[in-house]
Symmetry: none
Subunit: 215 residues, 4 copies
DNA sequence: CATGAATGAGACTTCATTCAT
DNA sequence: CATGAATGAAGTCTCATTCAT
């Protein structure tokens, strides 16, 4: 997988000094960003949390920006990797989709949600980050697209639309629902929403209710 | 309408000095935030764009935070107002929904999208802003809920779900699709996506295809 | 005279905020540079000496570099201006030259010497500064050239060389002697050196001893 | 020669570790100083140029200051040594002087010129460096003084001045002309200047034109 | 002999804010 | 009503230096 990333050209140019400790600190950077936000994450914050001197952070990552970007990148990267391995290959296409959607709606993934929000926000003004984002997004979409294609071929799904566009809408739902989850809006009812999303998906792919409601 | 806002308790405490000019500058603040982002909008930026001295901005708005919050609030407020008047009262429930969704998907509303992203992002860390957000969000949802309720009563919609939850999902879609629109991801195809969203909505409300496909 | 400078294109682009106080501080910057050297002059040093906050210095001058360059420029500029008015117009060419040389050898002009050394040193690596230096140098040379030309025309000087080149050598002497003066080398004997320089000059211009030895 | 230096008391206290490699690096330090200037020469610069780790440089030279001073010292020292052996002992006094002056005016010695400028500049604030400088300067002057004394004794020169003072002025010229050379001022014409300097010198020592103009 | 890791001191710079006018 | 002057707080960054290997 790493090879793929390298090949994508987004691998960070300089892997600066530091071994395990650097890796550990990087995790902490992610945590701090999730808590304080990208723009408000200072060297000092990370230094406090990690117990590492500010100058050491610079030694590890170069500049503040570099540190933040690497953490953001790494965080999203891992989410995508997790998604890519979130279902068993032998599952039916529908089961795979259900697993993917459930992961996308997972109410426990608060940090992931916050990091995504940070990523979108930061990308909106940073072309380079946006490029990375486009690449990661494409990988995020792929498992969905694959599952739908498999279902269509297998005959269990039927749809007049391009699976790509279906996934665009489906991801739209999953990403859009991150907002009320992260902001903890109280009109957001996990169970009911999940049911409706599943039914919607079933409708889009013309899957019988009996199959779809067991999730 | 203003009364409503006042009643909500979110009206800014001090309506500071400055008449028309203040109003004009406020627009410019919105523009600057949309372009540079909330956190990166400095007094100096607004001063440059508006040609007003920094100290005058402070005179108008109080602190930087006050200025930003007011601009954010105002911007979202206006979007909500626009939404609330985006359909003719005599329209059928389905027509109303279509109008609302079309507004939500409007590819021209780049600035609105960016401001929403800013709002979500800022809200994630500011409880007060989040409270305002919850209130605005509720108002944003209301026209959708009303339309669905009207359709159900009128007999043109049928659904086992609580209209509130349906709207949660529907808004999820609309908000989620803001992301690829703002970030200009190229997998986002307006027309196809619109069609799928409409069909999804029709499916959820058990509206016959013939009606739904005319939009 | 100021017009001339403006016309030369070297006038500093932004005359930043601050009135008299700024001017006063600028003097102090010069003093600090003369004492500590260009590269070692920090905002903090000037702040301490002038009693002005560091941030105010930035407010006045922009950046550290801008502050230093302006001080350097101003300092040399003034020396040139002083030189240009160091003799009475009605003096004989020889008297004018003597006045110019005496000013160049003035043992009291320690600060000027140090600033010149700073200027040369800084110019060696800063093309922009070097351009300013070339311009100032030209103006520095002019009075010497004028005096020699006047003497030649008047018949009191005779030389086979281009006055420009004579001045190059003459200025070489004056500038070269700044070194032992500034470094306080003890082999430097003001009176003897002055006499030799004058005699040298007299020799170059074929002026009779009787005239030259009265200085 | 080395003995002489030791005797002078300026030998660097600790001749630190590192054999040939150290020597090679020292050359590179000189080059870096000539290019970047004394104050702006960092360990990192030398490390980059030499391919030696920063910590190794410290191991070689001690502190940054030590490294810079040693390089400066070495550089000037070598120039002096070169000067001391720049003429053949059997030459006539005038020939010796001409050789010395020609070396002083050598337009190819850009690095030497820059290093001298660095030395003067650094000396202006560092008493210890100034002491070294005074010693080196004295040695620099000696060959000139010797030549003049020899000429006077031999009867080919005649002067009412102390040869020491004549050398002060002569060196003043040579050093002063380094400035336009290093700064590449375009009014500096090597050939014409050389001729004038030679004639000046001939005048000071009462040497007949016929002898002096052959250089 | 040589080096990488880690760090503290010190500098510049940005920016919101206060104050006098 | 509006502004310029002045400043303190806070952050990033550079760099020499110490230490363990």
């Amino acid at each position: 997988m790493d090879t793929k990333v390298e090949a994508s050209g987004f691998a960070l140019s300089r892997r600066r000094a530091g071994g395990e400790r650097r890796e550990k600190v990087l995790r902490q950077v992610i945590a701090v960003i999730a808590e304080r936000g990208y723009d408000r994450t200072r060297f000092a914050d990370v230094a406090t949390v990690s117990g590492v001197a500010v100058s050491t952070l610079q030694f590890y990552f170069g500049s503040r920006e570099d540190m933040l970007v690497e953490a953001l990148h790494r965080s999203i990267e891992e989410e995508v990797l997790a998604l890519e391995s979130s279902y068993r290959p032998e599952s039916s296409p529908w089961e795979r989709l259900v697993a993917l959607v459930d992961r996308g709606l997972d109410p426990a993934a608060q940090i992931t949600g916050k990091m995504l929000l940070e990523f979108w926000h930061a990308s909106a003004r940073d072309p380079q980050l946006r490029a990375v984002g486009a690449y990661l997004c494409q990988r995020y979409r792929q498992p969905f697209i694959d599952a739908i294609r498999a279902g269509v071929e297998h005959g269990s799904f039927r749809t007049a639309d391009d699976p790509e566009d279906v996934v665009t809408v489906l991801n739209g739902i999953l990403e859009g629902l991150i907002i009320p989850r992260v902001l903890e809006h109280d009109y957001y009812h996990v169970q009911q929403v999940r049911k409706i999303v599943m039914r919607t998906l079933a409708g889009l792919l013309d899957v019988s209710e009996s199959v779809s409601t067991d999730g």
